[in-house]
Amino acid sequence: MEVSSLPISASQRGKLISAGYTSLSSLSSVSSSDLARGAHNAWDMLHEEESMTRITTSCADLDNILGGGINCKEVTEIGGVPGIGKTQLGIQLAVNVQIPLEFDTEGSFMVERALQIAEACVEDMSEYNRFLRNDFQACQVKMQPTDILENIFYFRVCSYTEQIALINYLDKFMSEHKDVKIVIIDSITFHFRQDFDDMALRTRVLSGLALKLMKLAKDFSLAVVLLNQVTTKYTGGSFQLTLALGDSWSHSCTNRVILYWNGNERYAYIDKSPSLRSASASYSVTHRGIRNSTSNVKRVKMM
């Protein structure tokens, strides 16, 4: 039975539905005090989680270690050395989800590349369709690459104040565009590295941004992907490569994936996650986008 057909006042109905209770069965397991405060118990959340979609990266091995793909309602940080494929992964995710939202702070988003990946995606989809239907007639693929591009909302950010303003504006934007499923920021660190003298201010601003993004992810069921750069850190007597923005920022995201080179291969490593095991997998960047690596060596390593 639907909540919408319950004999209660319209405003109460609206409140229940906007809190996510659309059927009577979802209401029956919640106690009255929970309803009043919007708490969820772990049992309900488990069932919600099972029905949540994940966004594929187009690389099966990468999807495997991610538990199916990038998770919605979470903020995932992806970092790596320049040239490892962060932006490529960002564009791939933007194409794989129907309605993504992309922020570009570095100017590295290339429309032509997005079109290239979108075309490859459409071709793959039609091939998959044919495989499913098992017939030899050409199937009509409804999505055209240009449609995919149309659904990518692109914002170019030129300073850290613009970045803050844009993230504050996102709340309003999301309520107007309810079908946005992913927000990609490439990269979160760019405007906070140069000419930022006041470190204390930087910590406060960044942690405030992180919380706002968390709230957006939760409220609108979005996947938020933050691409980060690397820096060197002097620990234990040697210089090590680590993600930029320091220790305090490292606590801010739900998940963290580090991209690195291993010989000639590109690898991704799950560095932080509340539910995924530590593992690494290899991937490659092709003209069609992010794909499985073609080497014969065993690729996925569980730690």
Partner: protein
């Protein structure tokens, strides 16, 4: 200063006489007050009024307890919650103690969230009551909780195990808070609920977890001093 509305009979005389005394006087010399009251014409009602006022003051603060009473309270009321980690329980001499605030500190990915999830699962399975979990980073993983509960519950049969998992997970209440004011709201509501159900004793929340408090405080107070050098 107390208003005359505090008194049951609302007698002006009592009210007026009492208005002459400041709280300081009342607190410091109740005997002197009693002696003074004896001399007044309306002494009976005055004495009543004074007793009422002193009761109100007493209720505003916790009663004084002596060492023996504290020990009894600690043994009977302040239970120790096992975390489910043997080593940590050993360090904490039994586990997390009710009435105490325990801070868990560590670098990123050191296992703080996993510790919180496991402890929540343990307390929930051992039927010690509800667990309130405040999550600031969307890190609450029902999947992990289910895994921990499954590990802890000793029953071998699949059906009863499912029931145990359901019962335990239904007593872990997760709130997502993204700023310090929402956290205060949640805590205030929790306090209200606990006070109003104190007599019935069915609604017990022996464990409150906040993961993590620093992400709520950083935007407000963070970054000063020690954060200066490390970018």
């Amino acid at each position: 200063m107390l208003t005359t509305g505090e008194f049951e009979d609302g007698d002006d005389d009592v009210g007026q006489s009492c208005a002459l005394f400041t709280l300081e006087t009342l607190a410091s010399t109740p005997e002197g007050l009693a002696a003074f009251a004896e001399q007044q014409p309306t002494s009976e009602r005055l004495k009543e009024g004074i007793t009422q006022v002193l009761n109100i003051i007493d209720n505003l603060h916790q009663p004084w307890l002596n060492g023996l009473e504290l020990l009894e309270d600690s043994l009977q009321n302040k239970h120790v919650l096992s975390t489910g980690f043997e080593g940590v329980d050993l360090l904490l001499q039994g586990g997390l103690r009710e009435g105490q605030l325990t801070e868990l500190v560590g670098p990123s990915s050191s296992g703080k969230t996993q510790f919180c999830l496991q402890t929540a699962a343990n307390v929930a399975v051992k039927n010690m009551g509800y667990v309130a979990y405040l999550d600031t980073g969307n890190s609450f993983s029902p999947q992990r909780i289910a895994h921990f509960v499954g590990q802890i519950s000793e029953s071998a049969f699949n059906q009863t195990k499912q029931k145990i998992i359901q019962k335990a997970m239904s007593s872990i209440l997760c709130h997502s808070v993204f700023d310090i004011f929402s956290m205060f709201d949640v805590l205030r509501q929790l306090e209200f609920d606990l006070r109003s159900q104190m007599d019935r004793g069915e609604y017990r929340v022996p464990l409150l977890i906040v993961d993590s408090i620093s992400s709520l405080i950083s935007p407000v107070l963070g970054g000063s001093g020690s954060q200066g050098i490390d970018p």
